[in-house]
Symmetry: C4
Subunit: 218 residues, 4 copies
């Protein structure tokens, strides 16, 4: 129990950053609906649904980031400077998410509504690449953090459940692979890469697929 | 005590999200008063009182959400993936609240001040429906989370106070019912449905009606 | 120790709200400086110093609110529904602070710079009254919360330091009195009432005057 | 363990403020990209890279502030009123960071893009001085807090690792010196002083140089 306490402030600080990043996402939705206040609300909802979709997707993704953080730090019980810096890199990614989300929602709305046709293709395309780039970065940093912490059980509890560690090891090979595919897809087909993002979010949230730290597989 | 610890990070993350969502509400008040900065402040206060009322109502409602979270997680001591995902759904609802609140305040002010009469009826009407929809969603997800956690005492402490569990069981039948009534009312009479919302907020905040987790009924 | 734990989530949620309210204050400073971006930065600093002063004063006041919360909840160890609702009222006040702060900074700048002379007298006057009104509300709610918690030692630890309780009792008679004076002054002389606010903030922050919970008087 | 608990709320409140300040930084990036929405996104990225650089530098610096807070409060176990007030001063600095960051990014972009040449020299120059001034203030307050807490071991644990205390003592002589140099440089050469800031951020984040609280030097 005493061993455990070392990570409690890292968890508290990280919880704070995740909580704020996930909550700030709504600000861009509110402002997207205030910019065009001359329209009827119903028409606005029809035009700005990409903003709402980007909000939901980013909310789900930051939620999944938190779930992963929760899982890893149930097993990691010690900290050192390198782990703290890797954790700050993770938080950087979480913090950045509202930015490409805003770009995606806005340029997505422009494209759907045929505004500024000449530019829009490229704007939406570039926004999708940035968006996927952030998620690929997240997946890579989570892997670095996990490999660093588990290397020779460096920062794990002495009585850690090695089953759980190996399960995460296997799953963490797939994350970066999936997000790399979505990232590469973004260069060729923005819609398809976003569809992959949505599928990944649903996949990681569905019970029974990703396993919680407190449940052994049945 | 050791059993308890499993929920501590869920509580910390949820506290963060509730705290931010409840605090972000003021941003829309500040911006409603800066948009129209040519007017005298006194006139502004007379015109934008709907923004202040929407702020107070949403503040009370997120406060009540937190009170409920506090009550449930005093009894829930274990977590699994499904509970975490249901909790993220709850936090989604809390996070979203500032958006329909902003719409309600703004379109309410438009209506009160007779601005843009042609559209306003529908804008305010739709904003009220969205606003009530979010609260109905909250009430339903709280029920799902509670039923899931208590089913066969799945995530409860072994020595849980079954009196307290049953009391919440009974009360949680009423919440969705009340909010469903307010939601349906919103389609027919916006003002009336908001009045029901205000009454519900006062009802849930009044001491002696809702019972705290630490007090047995007298 | 077990007795203590009951307040930990109230403290965590309150810490979150105080932390966010105190940090959001800077947003209005940033936006005050972006609205008038055609000017030289140096001229802006000369014109908008009231925004910076209002920021500092509100920062100090929310800081003092947190210090008081910290002091009271070092002695309060149990919670009930009434205490939670009184605490939510406190957080409402903390959350609201950025709004009158923004009004005060903005209308203060208008007045200092002689913009819109006809209205400004009243705008700044009304903003100062609102600002002081929030602080008076805070002082009153802190008293209600403290009297409620200590009445017949209702929510105190069994082995509470009654010296510390009585010291707070005495000090808490003065708080509402001082803020009531500042509030009444605000109707007659805005500058003077703000000067009282600044003095009160310095007074409560100075070491040796307000006594921390962990230090006995020398 | 009981001795330890006294600082837990200070840490929680501070974690909240650091988390919010570090997350709010992205808001200015998002708004810098929404102001000029007529441009292609690619061109915007080329013009506003100073906003992104200022964001990254401030993110790293607040991250380092948190790392330092984490290190000091691993050794500080008691609190008194003076420590709490010094800590509030630290949080003031963390809270303020988004403001000079916004100025630096914006005026930096103006300068890079040759907008408003006549003013820009001075605007960017003054923004850099303010930016460095905040960091110098941080370094000084951290020193005051540390010297106050360690003076006659006032607020340290009885069984504190004096090796760790002396290591921090030595390192904390250098911090203010480095930031004073960057501050003075800012009056003569803005770019050079920012380069020093970037080097300091990298230096403090690199593993093996700054030592974590949990690792003895090898």
């Amino acid at each position: 129990m005493d061993e455990k306490k070392e990570t409690s402030r890292v968890e508290a600080f990280s919880d704070g950053v995740f909580a704020i990043a996930i909550t700030l996402l709504i600000l861009d939705v509110t402002s997207a609906f205030s910019d065009a206040s001359k329209l009827k609300l119903f028409e606005l909802l029809c035009q700005q649904w990409t903003v709402l979709l980007a909000f939901l997707l980013s909310f789900a993704t930051i939620g999944i980031m938190w779930l992963n953080h929760h899982r890893l730090f149930a097993l990691i019980v010690r900290v050192d400077h390198t782990l703290l810096v890797l954790n700050i890199l993770l938080l950087l990614a979480a913090t950045v998410v509202p930015f490409p989300t805003a770009l995606l929602g806005r340029y997505g709305a422009d494209m759907v509504n045929g505004v500024d046709v000449k530019n829009n293709g490229t704007n939406f395309w570039l926004a999708t690449i940035l968006y996927n780039g952030v998620f690929l970065f997240v997946a890579i940093v989570y892997n670095l953090l996990w490999r660093y912490a588990t290397h020779k059980r460096r920062l794990l509890s002495r009585d850690v459940d090695m089953e759980a560690v190996k399960r995460i090891d296997r799953q963490y090979l797939l994350g970066p692979l999936f997000y790399a595919i979505a990232f590469i897809l973004a260069f060729f087909n923005s819609q398809l890469s976003l569809a992959v993002n949505i599928l990944l979010a649903i996949f990681f949230l569905l019970p029974g697929i990703a396993l919680s730290t407190s449940q052994k597989p049945a």
